[in-house]
């Protein structure tokens, strides 16, 4: 009798297998490549849905506890799956024209496979391995479109990423050392403050690089802002979710005593303030959609850090609110992925500006507006609930932090609203988007609205391992 959680594993390996088969098929067979990729992401979607269903009864362990999925990680995996579907929908046959073809259709399933392991990793070495899978796939992904900007961005990404990976490897060593040779999470507390004071910042420097936490974010604007939006959609909307899950999980595991957890929380809170403010201020004066999305990605990570600080602080003391913080991060990540994946794809088409989009493509303009408003946190869209729950949990930790986050949220209204107004403006030379991108935007908007309406029920169904 095959258990449900075992099925998940088979399906994830099936995703990987499909991804590996793609390059074997001759270059001309674009249809087959696409079909296989679609099959892979749908299989992965089913896998993560089954996983989420299974975790409602409790955490699911694989490989003797090296890989543990709970509601939080399963939700994040599902979000990655949905974002991947939307990215694939948006890119349509375009990737077939790239010199790297059929790499896109092969690497997308590979990234998903890596995200599955990274989100669920319960061991430092597993995290390192999955990190490498996702990272290398991401570097290549950025280079796929083959144009000058993309290749340049990819080179930067690789050089910087290598440094960050070194930090992660250093952390793995420290972590294993602290736990007397055990690389699994949370067997021993970070009791030794001097080692913890080394391990935690090392990990944050590594993860902060991937997530775009200020001041480790330097690469991000030149990659997100300059590379092909359709490739960025995958890196920012899919791959990033795995890192978010890893951040939350490791920090939760490290926050075992009030003494350590309050220190971690303080570091995260400080980074949250800097990150939010940096992202929002930098985004204020640009009218380029892709740049807005780039800097708003930094700001959004800042909000998530607010919840992460609360999570670290509340983990030993108040598990109920810690759960709320986790659920909030999951919901926010989902809304983030729903918005970013199609918007980045669309941004590639809208390099010339947004002005007048509503005249030619009202559906695209409306959908994009909804997605931007969700990023802003407008009720009743999904983004509102993510922010609401994150800030609610954070109130238990620090009111000033929440107030700063709210002010930041208010500031962000400026550039989101301006972008929406741009779309409604009258313009002689009206931009258009392709049907595939319009469809991707529409699905993102619909999901954002529908999930927003049922968000409180999603929260009620949330059960993490802790």
């Amino acid at each position: 009798m095959v258990q449900g959680y075992e099925v998940v594993l088979y399906l994830v390996y099936a995703t990987l297998a499909l991804g590996i088969i793609v390059p074997v098929i001759p270059r001309r067979q674009l249809k087959i490549h696409r079909m296989l990729a679609w099959l892979a992401v749908i299989i992965f979607f089913v896998a993560s849905a089954v996983l989420l269903y299974n975790t409602t009864a409790g955490a699911v362990e694989y490989y003797g506890g090296l890989l543990v999925h709970d509601s939080f990680t399963a939700a994040i995996t599902l979000a990655a799956a949905i974002a991947a579907i939307m990215a694939l929908m948006a890119v349509d046959v375009d990737a077939g024209l790239w010199p790297s073809h059929p790499a896109y259709y092969s690497l997308l399933p590979l990234i998903l496979f890596g995200v599955f392991f990274m989100a669920g990793s319960y061991d430092a070495l597993v995290l390192l391995a999955s990190w490498l899978v996702v990272s290398i796939a991401s570097y290549v992904f950025i280079a796929l479109p083959g144009d000058r900007e993309s290749r340049g961005a990819a080179v930067r990404y690789i050089i910087m990423g290598a440094v960050a990976t070194l930090f992660l490897a250093f952390w793995v060593a420290l972590h294993t050392g602290i736990q007397a040779g055990l690389s699994k999470f949370a067997y021993k507390p970070y009791a030794d403050a001097s080692l913890a004071s080394l391990a935690v910042p090392t990990l944050i420097a590594a993860l902060g690089f991937k997530l775009g936490i200020v001041p480790f974010h330097w690469w991000l604007p030149s990659v997100y802002g300059r590379a092909d939006g359709r490739a960025v959609a995958v890196v920012a909307g899919v791959a990033k979710l795995g890192f978010i899950a890893a951040l939350a999980r490791v920090l939760y595991a490290a926050s075992v005593s009030p003494e350590v957890s309050s220190r971690i929380a303080l570091v995260l809170a400080a980074l949250a303030v800097v990150t939010m403010t940096y992202g929002n201020v930098a985004a204020l004066t640009t009218r380029d959609l892709q740049l807005i999305l780039t800097y708003s990605s930094i700001a959004q990570i800042g909000y998530i850090l607010v919840a992460a600080a609360a999570l670290a602080y509340l983990a030993p003391a108040d598990p109920r609110y810690a759960t709320l913080a986790l659920a909030a991060i999951a919901i926010h990540s989902l809304s983030y992925a729903l918005s970013k994946s199609p918007l980045f794809s669309a941004a590639q088409e809208l390099r010339g500006g947004l002005r007048g989009l509503a005249l030619r493509s009202p559906v695209a303009a409306l959908s994009a507006s909804i997605l931007l408003m969700s990023l802003l946190g407008m009720p009743p869209l999904l983004g509102f609930w993510g922010k609401l729950y994150m800030f609610l949990a954070a109130i238990k930790y620090s009111l000033p932090l929440v107030l700063i986050a709210l002010v930041n949220s208010g500031v962000s209204a400026a550039y989101y609203a301006l972008a929406i107004r741009e779309m409604l403006a009258k313009e002689v030379k009206v931009p258009t988007v392709k049907d595939s991108i319009e469809a991707s935007l529409l699905i993102g908007a619909l999901l954002t609205v529908i999930l927003g309406l049922v968000a409180p029920q999603l929260l009620a169904a949330f059960t993490p391992i802790y």
Binding site: V155, I159, M160, S197, V200, P201, W218
Partner: protein, 678 residues
């Protein structure tokens, strides 16, 4: 016994009259006569009702109380309460209003604001009657503000501000501030000056309500022992009493609030007669007469040493302010060159006597002599009544004199006794009553107020009162001689001869002037009525002694007053002293003259400190506001814009530079965290 509802109807009638006038205007009726008739009829009806009610109270010895439910949750009703004090007030107010209303019918003939004038005038009478017959402070305050509103509207009646309606010599400045005032400006001054006092009044009311739990005067009086004791324990009794009295001081134009009354003379003369001489300015002293007995008996009932001490101080302050006002304004009247302005100074000065009497009466609180207290209070009331009568007459005469001269300056008037015999007689009667010559009413009432000050042992107050009496005689004589018996100082531009006033104007002021004589002649009867009224007055309840005994002091004062009159008459009529050239020649004389003429420079000081002080404050606040605006709309936005661009500039796409930054930041974070976590 009359129906209690009459008491309510007495003040309601003018209100209804005003309402009808308003509808008439809206209906498009522009016939002057109609307005005059409706207004006069409603005033007459109110006068008759007031007389019926007032006389009933005085003869039956039972106060009338008429109550209609109004605001249950703060325990305030539309309640009219007529006791001895109110009975006298409503009779005096309503008849004066009627006479002056009739005078106005003629005086305002052809005025472009005729309907408006009568609407506001009638509304004023309703408010004034409500004020003096209200049972609770809220209703009283509504009447109070109604009179203030009407006063504002009537002072600014000629709001187009032609020069002939100004007060003061056009172009004259004191300390750099203009000393001439347009009607619209004067109206604003009046409402702003009284506003200062009214804020205090409101605060005081709130304190009383918080402590006594009621706004009804009768209930406040019945628990006065409790709240005075409580305030005395907290050490705030004196402050509270002064706060409540601020409204009264401002309304009655007592120092330091007297400035508004002076410039209120921009209104039509009947308005000056009714509102700014006979009635509204008396509202303040009415309130003191109403409130002082409550304080007096309350403090005695509390039997608290601190309360008695505070009350003594309060009453002394009231008496002192009254005396200072009486003296200060009398000196101003000496040199003024406008008919109405002289009368205005005189009004504030005479009301000073009333405050003096009420304060002096209360200052006897340590002796707990209720009869002496009642006598002092009733002395204030008797001077209120006699002043209302003769001052109304003087103002109405002023109206005609100004009309005849086509100028408000007395220098353009002269020898009127030749052309208008009856008016001259009326002027002498009213003027001598003001000067305090027996047997006119002013003599008795003024002597009573001085007697109260003397008995209270407030010698400096008494002294100021006596000096003021001499000054009063002097400026009155100067005024009468200048206008009626000396040739005009300046040549008038209008050559036709003056003549006697038309009947509708002549009759009212003649009646009033003779009333001053009749009241004086029948003082025994009148003082009996006042004595009875004092027994019927809320919280007073003691018979006042209002007889005048012939003493050395009395003889001295009368002799002094007569000497003052004779001296002025000699200087003007026989010696023919030319004061104008005297002032022009002598620096000292000019200095004194200017000091008095420019009202002790108090107006200029107010403008320099308060008006321009606030103007400067407003400029500063405007600058702060602009700065805040700039900060939000330009500063912050600009900063964000510059910051935004600067932050994006950091990303130039150079990997080696990024790597360095990344490593530097990571090391910095590591260092910081390691340092902090230790």
């Amino acid at each position: 016994m009359v129906e209690p509802i009459y008491a309510t109807l007495a003040w309601l009638t003018p209100y209804i009259g005003a309402l009808i006038l308003g509808f008439m205007y809206l209906a498009g009726i522009r016939e002057e006569k109609a307005y005059g008739i409706v207004s006069s009829a409603s005033l007459f009806l109110a006068a008759v009702l007031s007389t019926v009610v007032g006389l009933d109270v005085l003869s039956s010895g039972r106060p009338i109380y008429d109550v209609h439910k109004w605001i249950p949750w703060i325990n305030v009703d539309v309640a009219t309460y007529i006791d001895g004090l109110s009975a006298i007030m409503i009779i005096v107010v309503s008849w004066l209003s009627f006479f002056i209303g009739v005078y106005s019918v003629e005086y305002m003939k052809g005025d472009w604001g005729y309907p408006r004038y009568f609407f506001v005038f009638t509304f004023f009478v309703g408010s004034m009657l409500l004020l003096v017959s209200a049972d609770n402070l809220l209703l009283l305050f509504i009447g109070w503000e109604g009179t203030g509103l009407a006063s504002y509207a009537l002072i600014g009646h000629w709001y187009t501000d032609e020069e002939e309606y100004w007060v003061g010599v056009p172009g004259r400045r004191a300390l750099g501030y203009p000393m001439y005032f347009e009607p619209s400006h004067s109206g604003l001054r009046a409402i702003l000056f009284t506003r200062v006092g009214d804020i205090g009044f409101l605060l005081g009311m709130a304190i009383l309500y918080a402590l006594a739990g009621t706004l009804s005067l009768r209930e406040i009086a019945s628990v006065a022992g409790d709240w005075t004791a409580e305030l005395a324990v907290r050490g705030t009794l004196l402050l509270t009493l002064i706060l409540i009295s601020l409204g009264a001081l401002a309304k009655s134009a007592q120092f330091p609030f007297h400035e508004w009354l002076v410039t209120a003379m921009t209104g039509p003369t009947p308005v000056s007669a009714l509102i700014h001489a006979a009635t509204m300015v008396k509202a303040g002293i009415y309130f003191i007469l109403r409130f002082a007995p409550i304080v007096f008996t309350g403090v005695l009932a509390s039997a608290s040493e601190a309360a008695i001490h505070a009350a003594q101080e309060y009453f002394t302050i009231i008496a002192g302010l009254g005396a200072v006002t009486a003296f200060m304004l009398a000196t101003m009247a000496l040199v003024s060159n406008e008919f109405k302005l002289i009368l205005a100074f005189s009004t504030a000065s005479q009301i000073g006597y009333m405050f003096l009497a009420a304060g002096a009466a209360g200052a006897l609180i340590e002796e707990a002599d209720k009869i002496a207290f009642a006598s002092g209070i009733m002395a204030g009331l008797s001077h209120l009544v006699s002043h209302a009568v003769f001052k109304a007459a003087l103002f109405l005469i002023a109206g005609w004199a100004i009309h005849a001269a086509h100028s408000r300056f007395i220098d353009y008037m002269g020898n009127y006794a030749k052309y208008m015999k009856v008016t001259a007689i009326a002027m002498w009667l009213a003027g001598l009553s003001l000067a305090g010559i027996p047997p006119l009413s002013g003599f008795f009432s003024k002597e009573l107020t001085l007697k109260a000050a003397e008995e209270a042992g407030l010698s400096w107050v008494f002294g100021l009162g006596v000096i003021t009496a001499l000054l009063t005689a002097a400026y009155t004589t100067r005024l009468i001689l200048r206008v009626f018996h000396l040739p005009p100082y300046e040549k008038s531009h209008h050559e036709h001869e003056p003549h006697e006033a038309p009947a509708l104007m002549l009759v009212p002021y003649t009646i009033l002037a003779f009333a001053a004589l009749i009241i004086g002649l029948s003082w025994t009867k009148v003082s009996e009525a006042f004595s009875r009224a004092s027994e019927l007055t809320l919280a007073l309840l003691a018979p006042a002694k209002l007889e005048i005994h012939v003493t050395t002091e009395l003889m001295t004062i009368v002799a002094g007053v007569l000497a003052s009159i004779v001296a002025v008459a000699y200087a003007y009529k026989v010696a023919r002293v030319d004061f104008k050239s005297l002032i022009a020649r002598s620096t000292i004389a000019r200095g004194i003259h200017d000091f008095l003429f420019d009202r002790w420079y108090i107006n200029s000081i107010y403008y320099a400190t308060i008006v321009y002080g606030f103007a400067v404050l407003s400029l500063i606040l405007a600058a702060v506001d602009t700065a805040i605006d700039w900060f939000y709309h330009a500063g912050l936005v600009g900063l964000a814009g510059v910051g935004s661009v600067a932050l994006r500039r950091l990303h130039r796409g150079r990997p080696e530079y990024y790597t360095t930054l990344y490593l530097f930041m990571a090391s910095l974070a590591l260092l910081l965290i390691t340092l902090i976590w230790r």
